[in-house]
Amino acid sequence: MRRIGVFVCHCGINIAQNVDVEALTKYASHLNGVVVSKNYKYMCSDVGANLIKDAIKEHKLDGVVVASCSPRMHEHTFRQVVTDGGVNPYRLEIVNIREHCSWAHNDRQKATEKAKSLIRSGVAKAKLLEPLQSSTIKVNPDAMVIGAGIAGIQASLDLANEGFKVYLIEKEPSIGGRMSQLDKTFPTLDCSSCILTPKMMEVANHPNITLHTYSEVSGIEGSIGNYTVKIKKKPRYVDLSKCTGCSDCATACRLKGRIPNEFDMGMGKRGAAYMPFPQAVPLKALIDDKTCLFLTRGKCGDKPACAEACQQKAINFEQKEETIDLKVGAIIIATGYDPLNTEKLYEYGYALSPDVITTLELERLISSSGPTKGEILRPSDQQKPKSITFILCVGSRDETQCTWCCRIGCMSALKHVYLLREKLGEDVEINICYTDIRSYGKGYEEFYRKIRGHKANMFRGRPSEVRNMGAYQKVDIFDTTTNKLFEIKTDLIVLVPELVPRPDAADFARLMHLTQSGDGFFLEAHPKLRPMDTFVNGIFIAGCCQGPKDIQDTVSQASGAASRAACILSKKELQIDPLIASVDEEVCTGCGLCVEVCPYEARILNEKTKIAEVNGALCMGCGACIVACPSNASIHKNFTKKQLLNMIDDIM
């Protein structure tokens, strides 16, 4: 390979200001093997691309060096340009003279000298680059969506309507997620169930969607285009083919009304045999094996009451956990969020009085399908409250708890004010203690205007504590708008808590090889340009599992993730990046060290040949096996020892 072209980019003034690009171009032209050397202001533009392509043609180049910004920015672009020009895309070497040079140093002369060394080594490598070919893998066109809240439901419907087969996995006994717990949504005040249940029905009836409820992901193997996911189906102890959802078992259960109901956030009670909620999909019963008398003690009266009551004989205590393997090409994760456990802020008295509740708990009181059938009653004495006080930002924007803003707290509190006024009329005093009202979305400010106009007493400040006085709760709040301290005696305190990742987020991330951001939510590949991608090819995230957001952003993201997944699923084949590890079969001793160190499980030791093999689809080219191999049998394509040593030699 002796005909190298060097192309130096000014990057506007990003490079040119600190590095003498003309001098670099001249210097490069004299290097051994370089037949042409040019520079241009924006090499990544059309003009720059044509410059390279024309030079390839004119000078019959067989290798290209581009001295520019980080390869993470435009390596992909330049590979395409080089391919269009007729050169193998892997005979391209990017030399980073921006992040590694012009942006890091102040001395123009020294920076230029450094850039020269970098280019020199880049040319040395380019001379040894091999014309690699990408391989292809077949793509399984089926998809999996994990989590069936509104995000998972939307993503599943989008993919199913595009013609893909979707497996929808949900941990709870019913789909619907947090949105099914809401009464109305802001700012339109749509009835949450009314807009959600049609979608839930669509999911249930869609020929392309296979629903697995009360199921969890327990293992994953494979790579983009070819994942095998293990699903653990938890036993309901109810035969789904026989259950009609009549809920006779729930009515008959001996523990009826004794166990805090998860759907009602503990505000209501259920039995061990129960229906998830009235609009559940699937509308089938289940038995909680942690509390059921028969399952935990082996005895429930003379005979289990549920089995007696069930006319379809659908109760089956013999049911066992089932594990199935599902093969899919792409996965969307939409596992949602939890509200912060407000006991952590002890000073707000959540643990000290039942009259201190959270917004989701209030939502269940407001909901007509909730424990009080939509009547607003104080938990302590079941009386109508005469005064309700909201405290916003509980645990949010807090360096001692969670540093981020929950995004939806302000709007949901305002929404609650509206709904409470509707239910309780003018009789009730409603106070809001806020730090900032964040009403940023479409229609949000209009909604805020309506509320602040005359519906609530707004106090701009944050209470230091809530005191339980027994018959009422007492809150002192300094209002910075009037510079006065107010003492509020109130019947019901509603805490607007932070939204946090689910408690098993870390374990799930480990299982799926996902990265978590500092706040514990799943990390997107790029916050602006790739908000649904993750760093694992073929796995996408949508909804609150990526970070707190409202329903419209969740739905947007879910549709986006479906589109991203479809990019993969719609192809018959995918190209595999050839810049991965490979095995020199003559040297490999079969010690297996590379298999142990690989974080992507991309290597196996062939039992018969006793030689290591690389799964090209899984290998991310991290280099761990190269380092681990004691025999130098592990080789990183186009990052070989010889290439790298040559680069170092030339720098020296």
Partner: protein, 288 residues
């Protein structure tokens, strides 16, 4: 037998004798020896508003005196305990400041090294061994006496630097009281300040803070009020009548040091626990 250097501070040895008497009485019963060292001075905390450098240096010199005898420091006054803990935190994490302070201490041939621990009354009384030992020594349990516990401020805050009990829901004193048969109960004003430090420049306001809290405690029908700090006790006990005047209420709340109640439960005579110095109506509580 555990040995500690007793660091009494200023208020206890010059005025709040009851605390010193009851500590010296009950700690030996728990197999603890208190060593009296010479050369102590004020811990400096009351001077923090004037010159914090003075505070850190004074605390450092007192710790250095204990370190010279290879003893950990037991500071029964929570204000002293905070001053010394804060001093230790700063000097242990900042070499330069430590050297600077030591350059001053050198004039008295003292050197702060950081090897001594600083313990509070709760650290001493409460640890698993402590509770079992305490209940084991009870001869006259405080039969169902309904007690309001006052932790004070400096004992439990700021939690960031590490304090002997939780700042929002401290329970150690309650557990000790339960171990001696009493019935501690919570009340909304539990974490309110006594106002003690304000006595220096705004004594009337300090008494109002004191009176307000006692008034609430009295209204809720408590049999007794217990504290662990001489500044707090001076407000609630020694100045109870005056405090009552500021809130226009006749206050009649028996106020005890925790160590006095423990002593009574152990069967120790009243005289030995300094109960003659309690100016609040402690006789209302029938313990014999």
């Amino acid at each position: 037998m555990k040995k500690y250097a007793l660091y009494p501070g200023c208020v206890i040895p010059t005025e709040q004798y009851a605390y010193e008497l009851s500590i010296r009485e009950i700690l030996p019963l728990l197999d603890i020896k208190l060593v009296d060292l010479k050369g102590f001075s004020c811990c400096g905390e009351p001077m923090k508003s004037v010159n914090q450098m003075l505070t850190i240096s004074l605390s450092a010199r007192n710790i250095a005196i204990a370190e010279a005898e290879n003893l950990d420091v037991f500071a029964p006054c929570p204000m002293c305990h905070l001053a010394m803990s804060e001093c230790k935190r700063i000097l242990d994490s900042d070499e330069k400041t430590k050297e600077r302070i030591n350059s001053f201490l050198a004039d008295e041939n003292l050197k702060y090294t950081g090897k001594s621990k600083i313990l509070s009354i709760l650290d001493i009384l409460y640890d698993d061994e402590g509770l079992k030992k305490i209940s084991g020594l009870v001869k006259k349990p405080l039969k169902d006496v309904k007690i309001a516990v006052h932790y004070g401020c400096h004992l439990i805050r700021p939690s960031e630097i590490g304090r002997p009990d939780n700042s929002e829901n401290p329970q150690k004193i309650e557990q000790i009281l339960k171990a001696i048969g009493a019935k501690p109960a919570s009340y909304p004003e539990k974490l309110d300040c006594c106002g003690g430090l304000l006595t220096t420049n705004l004594p009337e306001t300090a008494l109002t803070k004191t009176g307000q809290k006692l008034q609430a405690v009295q209204q809720q029908g408590f049999d007794a009020f217990v504290d662990v700090c001489p500044w707090c006790h001076r407000q609630y006990d020694s100045k109870q009548t005056k405090a009552g005047e500021t809130v226009a209420t006749k206050l009649e709340v028996p106020v005890f040091y925790l160590t006095q109640l423990i002593g009574l439960a152990f069967g120790v005579k009243k005289e030995k626990l300094g109960l003659e110095f309690n100016l609040s109506p402690v006789d209302k509580l029938k313990i014999d």
